[in-house]
C-alpha cells in the first residue's frame, strides 16, 4: 500500500528530517510511528500527503510513485488519504454535521450522498445525537471523533493520524483508539504518529521508531520503547 524507497529529506535550513528511509506498509496494516520530537514523524506524514516531496528516493502509494504525480492530480491523491491531527482542525462556525459534510461537498459529492453518508458516519463515531452542535459545545474527545468522522467519511484507503490523542485524557484516548481500530478492521491502512507510550504498549501493533530521521526499529508486535520501561 505504502512503500518508501531510500527516502531522504532535508529542509532548507539544513536540518535533515529523514535519512535513507525504506519501509513497506501493507494494505490494512495498523502502524505506530514513534520517536522523540523532531525525529521525522511529521515529515513522514507530510511526504505521504505530498505536502513535501523527497530530495532522494521514491514514495509509492497503491503502486504509484507519488512524486511523479502532476500538481493538479495531488487533490485526487488526498481524497484517498484521511487525516486526523492533535488539534482537531474543525471549522468553529459549522455544526458537527456541516463539518463532516464539508469534506464531501468540497470534493463535489452530490447532496444525496452527503445526506446518506454523514449520519451513517456520525452513528459510527457515536455522535449521531450531537450533529447540530457546534465544535465548542463538545468535549475534546468528541471533537476528535468528529475529526475522525470527517477524515473517514469519504472512505479513504489510508488514514493518517498525527498525535490524535495528544490533547486527550486517557479515557478519551481509549475511545479514539477503539475508533481507529474499528476503521482499521474495515481494511483501511492506519498510520499513527504518537508519543503515548501506554497506548502503544497495550495495542501490540507494528511499531516503527524513528530517531533523527532514521528508522532504528521496526517491530511487528512492538511496544513504545525498550529503554523507556525504566522511566516510570
Amino acid at each position: 500500500m505504502i512503500r518508501f524507497e531510500n527516502v531522504s529529506k532535508t529542509y532548507k535550513n539544513g536540518t535533515p528530517a529523514l535519512r535513507n528511509v525504506t519501509l513497506d506498509i501493507e494494505k490494512g496494516e495498523f502502524v505506530f510511528l514513534v520517536g522523540a520530537s523532531g525525529s521525522g514523524k511529521t515529515t513522514f506524514l507530510r511526504l505521504l500527503l505530498r505536502e513535501e516531496t523527497p530530495d532522494v528516493g521514491r514514495i509509492l502509494e497503491a503502486g504509484r510513485d507519488i512524486g511523479e504525480l502532476p500538481k493538479w492530480r495531488v487533490p485526487y491523491l488526498r481524497r484517498n488519504i484521511g487525516c486526523v491531527f492533535q488539534d482537531f482542525r474543525l471549522l468553529p462556525n459549522k455544526s458537527v454535521f456541516e463539518n463532516v459534510a464539508f469534506a464531501l461537498e468540497v470534493i463535489g459529492r452530490p447532496r444525496s450522498t452527503v445526506e446518506s453518508q454523514v449520519p451513517q458516519i456520525l452513528e459510527l463515531v457515536g455522535l449521531a445525537d450531537k450533529s447540530k452542535n457546534l465544535p465548542h459545545e463538545l468535549s475534546g474527545g468528541e471533537q476528535q471523533r468528529v475529526a475522525v468522522a470527517r477524515a473517514f467519511v469519504n472512505r479513504p484507503l489510508i488514514l493518517l493520524a498525527d498525535e490524535p490523542t495528544g490533547n486527550l485524557d486517557p479515557a478519551n484516548s481509549e475511545s479514539i483508539m477503539a475508533l481507529l481500530e474499528r476503521i482499521n478492521r474495515t481494511g483501511t491502512t492506519v498510520v499513527m504518529a504518537t508519543h503515548d507510550k501506554a497506548l502503544v504498549d497495550r495495542m501490540r501493533r507494528r511499531v516503527v521508531e524513528l530517531d533523527r530521521g532514521e528508522i532504528v526499529r521496526d517491530q511487528v508486535r512492538g511496544v513504545y520503547g525498550i529503554d523507556e520501561g525504566v522511566a516510570i
Partner: protein
C-alpha cells in the same frame, strides 16, 4: 456541477457580505474611475462629431478694407472665381455687412459703427474644409484686404482644449483604475485570510485547486461588475443630461459602445485583481 455552482455562489456572497466595507470601497473606486473613462470616451466622440458638423459648413470670410478701391475688390473677386478650391462665393456690400452687424453685435458697439466704416466681405465655401487655410494664406496680404477669418481656427482651439481635458480625464482614470485593482486585490486577500481554516481543510480532504480558487475569483469579478454597473448609470446620466451644445449630442449607439467598454474594463479589473491576490496569497 450543480453542487459546485451552488457552493461557489454561496461562498462568494458570504465573502462579499463579510467584508462589506472593503467591498463597498472597491466597488466605488471602480465606479468613479470607470465613470471618468466613460466620460472621456463620450467627450472624445462628441468632439469628433461636432467638429465634423462644423467643418461641413466651413466658410472663409475675406474682409476688405472699408476704403478698398473698386479695382482691388474686383481683383480679389476674379482671383476667387479662378480658384478651383473655392466652391462658391458671395459678395456682401458695406451696407449688407452693416445690416448684419446690427443683428450680431451688441447695441452699444453697433451704435459707433457707420456703413462707410464697415468692411465689405466675400463669404466663400471651400470645396474641401481644410482648403480654408490655403484661401486664408493666399488673400491675407492682398492689397485692400483687411483680414481673412476661418472658423477652422476656432474648431482647432476647441479640439485642442477637448484633447487636453480628455488626457486629464484618462490620466486620472488610469490612476484610479490602478487603485481600484489594488483595492479589489486587498479585499480578496482579506477574504482568503478570513477563510484560511476552510482553505486548509479543503486542501486536506482533496478539493481541487480550482474549486478552492473560483469563489475568490468570482468575488473580484462581481466587485468589478458592480463598479461598472454604477459607472454605466453615471455615463448614461451624463449622456441624457448633456451639459454641452446640441452639436455634441451623441446617439444611443455611441452610448452603448461606451458602456460596453466600461463594462469590459470593470470586469477585467475585478478578475485581474483577484487573480493576483490568489497567486500571491492563496497557496494552492
Amino acid at each position: 456541477m450543480r453542487v459546485y455552482l451552488r457552493y461557489a455562489f454561496k461562498e462568494t456572497f458570504t465573502n462579499l457580505w463579510r467584508n462589506r466595507m472593503m467591498t463597498v470601497a472597491a466597488v466605488l473606486t471602480v465606479a468613479v474611475s470607470l465613470s471618468l473613462v466613460g466620460s472621456a470616451l463620450l467627450l472624445k466622440q462628441s468632439a469628433a462629431q461636432a467638429s465634423a458638423q462644423w467643418q461641413q459648413g466651413t466658410r472663409v470670410t475675406i474682409w476688405m478694407q472699408p476704403n478698398a478701391s473698386t479695382s482691388e475688390i474686383g481683383s480679389v473677386k476674379t482671383q476667387l472665381a479662378g480658384m478651383p478650391i473655392v466652391k462658391d462665393c458671395q459678395y456682401f456690400t458695406q451696407a449688407q455687412d452693416y445690416q448684419q452687424a446690427k443683428t450680431l453685435l451688441p447695441a452699444d458697439e453697433w451704435s459707433v459703427l457707420t456703413p462707410s466704416a464697415t468692411p465689405s466681405s466675400f463669404r466663400c465655401v471651400p470645396t474641401v474644409p481644410t482648403d480654408a487655410f490655403t484661401v486664408q494664406s493666399t488673400f491675407t496680404n492682398e492689397p485692400g484686404v483687411y483680414q481673412v477669418t476661418a472658423p477652422e481656427q476656432q474648431i482647432r482651439q476647441m479640439n485642442h482644449a477637448i484633447r487636453i481635458l480628455q488626457i486629464v480625464f484618462l490620466a486620472l482614470a488610469a490612476v484610479l483604475l490602478l487603485s481600484a485593482t489594488v483595492l479589489i486585490l486587498n479585499t480578496i486577500r482579506m477574504a482568503i485570510f478570513s477563510r484560511r481554516r476552510e482553505v486548509s481543510v479543503m486542501k486536506l480532504v482533496g478539493a481541487t485547486n480550482w474549486f478552492i480558487r473560483v469563489p475568490f475569483i468570482t468575488e473580484g469579478f462581481i466587485e468589478g461588475l458592480l463598479g461598472s454597473a454604477v459607472a454605466i448609470l453615471a455615463v448614461t446620466a451624463l449622456h441624457t443630461w448633456y451639459p454641452l451644445h446640441n452639436e455634441f449630442a451623441l446617439n444611443a449607439s455611441a452610448l452603448v459602445g461606451t458602456n460596453t467598454v466600461v463594462l469590459v474594463v470593470g470586469v477585467v479589473i475585478g478578475s485581474v485583481g483577484s487573480a493576483i491576490a490568489i497567486r500571491r496569497f492563496l497557496d494552492v
